[in-house]
Symmetry: C2
Subunit: 639 residues, 2 copies
């Protein structure tokens, strides 16, 4: 191991034209999963079939569908329907929309998804966070109570733009945009949103009639405690009882996944029980507010309600993009989670197209933003769903409800809807995840806190923006201040490792061996210059102190981890070499990657940096080849 | 070399508390140059002296100042004064300010810089680009001709905020913010700004009286050619003659740096000659517009003109930040360039404080934004300046002008000022730099083009913003799609290198050896998962085709270049291990860096990822240690 006799040269990277390089880069950026792999070397007819199956996954699993699978899907479909109906009504109210829109949104979108979607577990419908954001953003300009029709138009238009945006991300393969929402951001954001949503439920849970229009923690609490005279004890009693019941069944559902049906059925059971109670005791005359009459019938068309111009267009597009990206993140994350559990693949970009088209279709059939809901999908999974047919079963159940059962909800008290929402969003507060983030990465935890407090104290969209901004800033900071290391030899080997990490590693007299662990580009060349000149000065200071005869002769730069370089990076190497030459020190480059080597060679002024006598394949070879020159020259310098 | 017998273990990183790590990180981020190095182990009195010298570099070089140095400084000071006076008047007009403000700005700021600045070559005063931006941004809300007093107030207030912002960047050591303006951005931006500035000079060069208020290429040219009736042949004749003269002397100055005084003196000579011509021929009565009467006297105080409230505060702060950052970039770049030529150090953060304080003081003494100008500093350098005393000499000369010589400018024609500006900004168009960027990095060239066309066709500040946005997007893209490589063994060695780059490298049956060249974090974990699963599938497909008995047993991940990891990265390794285990493949980690290893160990669920039997120091050792296990097991699998 120790002595290295043979020197291996750094090879010229294979020649590729600019076009080939661009093609390779574009492919890695937009098609990292190579979705058209299976199309290669297939006859045309087969390709057409594969293409149809690609866009309509139902063609893939449909022909093999069996009665056995159907039985499972019916059970899980009915289970999620029993959740979807009360949640649909509740979430629509959270978005300041008529309750029936929540049911409409649980009918058409699941059918569209069943045809286009590739996840087998996703339960599609309205979700709490997207409802909250849609309602709160649109309320900035239009009051849902003063002008409900305009508000509804804006909601459908936002849904249209959300769908358009989602589908475009998928079509243009820009799905990586949702990756910018880091896990820490999401955990903090979800918890904050859960608090905000729960606070809004104080209106129905306490029976307050004059509730604030604001969303923040402080204004809501102060408004609630300034109106204690409006609190209704009947409502509070009923709310507490059902909330305890719902939370208890939820707890059972989490502890024993086999008893999923208890937590899944509890909301519907609560609705039925409470409706009966109100009806029996005429409680609606005694301070308990009820939903009231709902119209019957299936989704009316709403394409004539979409607004593509006018005063609120900017807000509508912004709302569409924010709700679109948030609901997409939830849908994709849910799809991936369950796909990993069952060991199948979901294609992120394809899912985006499916969810996007689902929302575009939804926006013209009186539906607002929908996606795959985490809680309902978990129930769906636990109930044993096999394919997207469970979504069809759910949609049919909702259809029956819409056609025949709507009068039954007339006496359903609003307090129950509040309790259902609170129970659903409690699950969004993920304390174990927050603790594990705290333990692993303190900076990520700060991002989490920013998202959480931003959402609870400032506003939903600004809290999210702040957290995303900080996450990206951290990533940029990592490039601005890249990790650099001084390497030392591990005795008895040709291996060189970080001196700070490996205490046994030793320095080689006359050599300063450095490693830069990032692309060298415009954001970090200034830092790298300062950092390296400080190392050289430290070496010289130490040399003076110890009066050793080992003056610095070589700066060896291990470039293995420099994955890319730009024009500033090229100038950096040129400047570094000039600076070192003035001090009589030679710059030695080790193992530059193909692309980096090529760029250094292409720039005229640096062509001579990559001379073959100062270019090595490993640090060990560089040191052993060059230390012989030191042994001869150092004494003559000091004669 | 070949066979590796001894296996070296990956050491535990040394234990450091969160506080120690945070301290180290903060130091690398904010004090990479370790500016207080020299303060260590010094007695208190010495420290105080060093501290005073740190903040007032004049105390450092002042005591050693000699008559010999003074002689050089007087020559260079007079030379730059002869440039500064005509340029000061011209740039003030470019910023829509009274010409005398340009002279005021060449008097106080150089004196302040001489005390605080650490560059010996910087010639301080107003510069073209900052003048252009200041004028064009403020003109969005206030017309300089309708309300000149308000416009002046806003200009001084913007200067105050520019200085405050610059000084804050220095004090809070956030100087790296200017690094986000990459070289490509600057080259494109400067060239675009030069075009815009030159177009504005068509007003004085053609003698047009009704000139457009807009800045873009299209509106200016269309306005110029719609008003051909206003063109004045006398003005054009004079302009062309002097422009040719100025460009010719500039050319000589560039070709022969020793003849710097020709190009340096030419503007003043042109002013004198043209003034005499106008005076002699009474040309101001024949269509040549002149500056007119200027008031005499030194800078009046202007602190009472600063506006910290009112309708335009937002614009003033925005203008301050944009001009502040642009002028700071120019000043720092100029300082560093000449420091490198003369082999001394300028401390970026200290320079920012100096320039910032200079502008804050300037804003209360009737000066607008100033910085170190590239062209004048080059003249200063060529004229042999030794210290900042040349700035003092220049300021004194300007003072004499302000006190006694102002009436002489009464007949100076505006066309000369236009010719001086055009000559100065021509140097900002750096075609060789653009060509070299094109050759080295095509993407950087696109950034350059965006900056150039953005500035010429949209607006100065938006063009800049677009170019900065694209540069940052490129950096983010590099992390979103990090470089990954499949490694192969270079025959006869223990070295593993990129298979695409080294054609001689060969794969090892049963092993997939991968290297990730970036921090693993939330923006790239999804991509990495997809990329690695594609490699595994490719391996399996190939294996099936060739019917080899070498099914995949180990995925070896060379982690040398993974400089950091966050919570998403930790989950990535956990998921990857799970996915591989389901396929019966073991994940082997090679050479994780200290910080990464620590985080993987700290997360409970991944503790067992870093088992000692799947953790190696080099790829070579991992392969040789593990291939023995393959030889025994592969046959039994196939029995």
């Amino acid at each position: 191991m120790g002595g290295v006799e043979v020197i291996h040269r750094v090879e010229e990277p294979p020649k590729r034209s600019t076009w080939q390089k661009l093609k390779g880069r574009l492919k890695e950026t937009f098609f990292p999963d190579d979705p058209f792999r299976q199309f290669k070397n297939q006859p045309l007819k087969h390709r057409l079939i594969l293409g149809a199956q690609y866009f309509f996954p139902i063609l893939q699993w449909g022909p093999e569908y069996s009665f056995r699978l159907f039985k499972s899907d019916v059970i899980s479909g009915l289970t999620i329907a029993s959740l979807a109906i009360p949640q649909g009504i509740s979430y629509a109210k959270l978005a300041n929309l008529p309750p029936i829109v929540g049911l409409y949104s649980s009918f058409v979108p699941p059918l569209v998804y069943a045809v286009l979607g590739s996840s087998r577990d996703l339960a599609v419908g309205p979700v709490s966070i997207a409802s909250l954001i849609l309602g709160s953003m649109l309320r900035q300009e239009v009051s849902p109570s003063d002008d409900p029709n305009l508000f509804l138009q804006l909601a459908f238009s936002s849904t249209f733009f959300a769908g358009l945006f989602q589908a475009s991300l998928g079509i243009f393969r820009l799905g990586f945009i949702i990756d910018f929402l880091s896990r820490a951001t999401l955990v903090g954001f979800m918890a904050g949103a859960a608090i905000i949503v729960s606070l809004q439920q104080l209106k129905s849970l306490l029976g307050i009639t004059h509730f604030t229009q604001q969303m923040g923690l402080v204004p809501v609490l102060s408004s609630v405690f300034h109106r204690t005279n409006e609190w209704s004890w009947q409502t509070i009693l009923m709310g507490v009882c059902f909330l305890v019941f719902l939370l208890f069944t939820r707890h059972i559902g989490i502890r024993r996944p086999k008893l999923f049906w208890i937590s899944a059925g509890a909301p519907l059971l609560s609705v039925i029980l409470s409706t009966l109670l109100v009806f029996a005791f005429k409680a609606d005359k005694h301070g308990i507010s009820v939903i009231g009459k709902l119209q019957e019938g299936l989704n009316p068309p709403s394409w004539n309600m979409l607004r593509f111009h006018g005063a609120h267009l900017g807000l509508v597009i912004k709302t569409g993009i924010v709700t679109g990206i948030i609901s997409l993140t939830e849908g994709i994350a849910v799809g991936r989670t369950f796909a990993a559990l069952k060991n199948y693949q979901v294609d992120g970009n394809k899912e985006m197209m499916a969810i996007g088209i689902m929302n575009v279709v939804g926006s013209s059939t009186s539906c607002y933003v929908t996606t795959g809901a985490f809680s309902r999908s978990a129930v769906n999974h636990n109930a044993g769903c096999k394919t997207a047919v469970s979504n069809i079963v759910m949609a049919v159940t909702v259809m029956v409800t819409l056609l025949f059962l709507m009068p039954l909800f007339q006496y359903t008290p609003n307090v129950i809807l509040g309790a259902i929402i609170v129970t659903a969003v409690v699950g969004l507060i993920d304390i174990p995840a927050a603790y594990s983030i705290w333990k692993v990465d303190k900076f990520d935890f700060i991002v989490l806190l920013c998202a959480f407090f931003g959402v609870t104290f400032i506003s939903v969209q600004n809290g999210l923006a702040i957290a995303v901004g900080i996450s990206i800033f951290k990533v940029l900071l990592q490039i601005t201040r890249p990790k650099t290391m001084m390497l030392g030899n591990i005795p008895g080997t040709g291996i060189y490792r970080d001196l700070d990490h490996y205490k046994e590693a030793i320095t080689t007299p006359g050599f300063l061996i450095l490693s830069i662990e990032a692309p060298v580009n415009f954001v970090n060349t200034t830092y790298l210059k300062e950092r390296i000149s400080r190392w050289i000065e430290e070496y010289e200071a130490e040399e003076e102190q110890t009066k050793k005869q080992s003056e610095l002769r070589f700066v060896v730069l291990d470039m293995s981890a420099i994955s890319a370089i730009d024009t500033s990076g090229v100038s950096f190497f040129k400047d570094l070499r000039m600076t070192l030459e003035k001090k009589g020190v030679e710059l030695v480059l080790v193992n530059p990657l193909g692309e980096v080597l090529e760029k250094l060679q292409r720039a005229e002024e640096t062509k001579d940096i990559v001379k073959s006598d100062s270019l090595f394949l490993t640090v060990g070879e560089a040191v052993s080849a060059l230390s012989s020159t030191i042994k001869f020259q150092v004494p003559t310098d000091h004669v």
